[in-house]
Amino acid sequence: MPELISTIVAKYNYWIYITLMMIGLYAMIAKNNLVKKIVGMSIFQTAIILFYVSIGAKRGATIPILEHGHGSSHITHAVDYINPLPHVLMLTAIVVAVATLGVALALAVKVYNQYNTLEEDEILTQMREK
């Protein structure tokens, strides 16, 4: 039993991200409204961003900005700073996610102009009628 609890404590962050990711996946598959699908896509992206940031964490370490930046021969140890690489990757990913969200919304506007609705089943009926 204590072993199980220690496993849960060590891994529960991944489980939260997986739950979030599956909420996004379910929204993308099952929701009828196109904007809700886009929201699901954003939740999915958020889960991946959180996952990457949590990979960079280190116990007892601080943010990756060096102390004693200039003018001293201070030796830096890697254990004192968290891993900067996931932060770099997610920094660009967040801004790219916003830009691609703009493209998705632009497509939704186009679909609305064409069919006067954003509900998937209504769009499909209109397409079959033509």
Binding site: V9, A10, K11, Y12, N13, Y14, W15, I18, T19, M21, M22, I23, L25, Y26, I29, A30, S54, I55, G56, A57, K58, R59, G60, A61, I63, P64, I65, L66, G69, H70, T76, H77, A78, V79, D80, Y81, I82, N83, P84, L85, P86, H87, V88, L89, L91, T92, I94, V95, V96, V98, A99, T100, G102, V103, L105, A106, L107, V109, K110, N113
Partner: protein
């Protein structure tokens, strides 16, 4: 469809949770991600690039290619929004609303109707909904210059504190979008026209790629900023620090212009007339 979706989501989730058994523990200093490349970045960044913020150094120097193409992706997204939505045909709305500034009286003019001669005293408002709130307008007008100043600080101080081109560019773009939300879209476009967006957005990418090409011309590798030392008259390590600042400015310009461009196109559905 809903049940199939639920089954797929639950199955995938269960599979992924089973996969976490092999994952390193939360915040483990000996995890594989923290033991190979990241110690080099943390210990050598200061002597190689003289930038205390490791994230900035990795973003713009060690992983310069990645960031350059991320900026290109953002620019491409702005162009895609433009080509999808923009309606260049001049076609006014079927009716326009004008509000008398002093009395708050609103008049509606349908397309083709005669305009009253005293229209100068009226301001045009959106037909759908317009917040006429002096408090919101005044507070936003006071806040926007400080937001922009903070954005410039975030870009310029990215070497020493959390910040950089992406963050500063987003804050700059948000300040103009705040103007568009608190007043209306036409006010924001008067300040920052479509032409400016369309010029600045590729200009930022050009600054980034041009810096890389300049390094190539000066005898270094592409995006190897230490080659800039001969024209900046500093030692190669400081040249890398300055090169990072130049490309961060390029990223900031591109991100700012693209976000405003996307907002203008999406919020007005390409008409640039009445929007959110």
């Amino acid at each position: 469809m809903k049940i199939i979706g639920l089954i797929i989501a639950v199955l995938t989730g269960a599979l992924l949770i089973y996969g976490t058994v092999d994952f390193p523990e939360w915040a483990d200093p000996a995890s594989p991600a923290s033991t190979h490349l990241s110690p080099h970045f943390i210990e050598k960044t200061m002597e190689e690039t003289s930038v205390p913020n490791i994230v900035t150094a990795v973003l713009a120097d060690y992983r310069g290619y990645d960031t350059m193409f991320e900026t290109t992706v953002i620019f491409a997204a702005g162009v895609v929004c433009f080509f999808l939505l923009r309606i260049l045909k001049k076609e006014g709305p079927r009716q326009r609303l004008y509000r008398h500034a002093l009395t708050g009286m609103t008049i509606r003019i349908r397309d083709g109707e005669k305009r009253p001669s005293v229209l100068d005293e009226f301001e045009r408002i959106d037909t759908m909904w317009t917040p006429y709130d002096v408090i919101i307008k005044t507070v936003c007008r006071l806040l926007i210059p400080f937001i922009q100043l903070f954005a410039l600080y975030v870009i310029a101080h990215g070497h020493h504190s959390p910040g950089g081109g992406f963050q500063g560019g987003v804050i700059l773009g948000a300040s103009i979008i705040l103007l568009a939300i608190s007043q209306d879209l036409r006010t924001a476009i008067k300040r920052m026209s479509e032409k400016v967006d369309a010029i600045l957005s590729p200009a930022g990418v050009f600054i980034y790629a041009g810096t890389g090409a300049l390094c190539l011309l000066l005898g270094g590798n592409f995006l190897d900023y230490s080659a800039l030392a001969s024209i900046l008259h500093v030692d190669p390590v400081t040249a890398r620090s300055h090169g990072i600042l130049i490309v961060e400015i390029g990223v900031g310009v591109a991100v700012m212009a693209t976000l405003i461009w996307i907002y203008n196109n999406v919020s007005s559905a390409g008409k640039y007339d009445e929007g959110l």
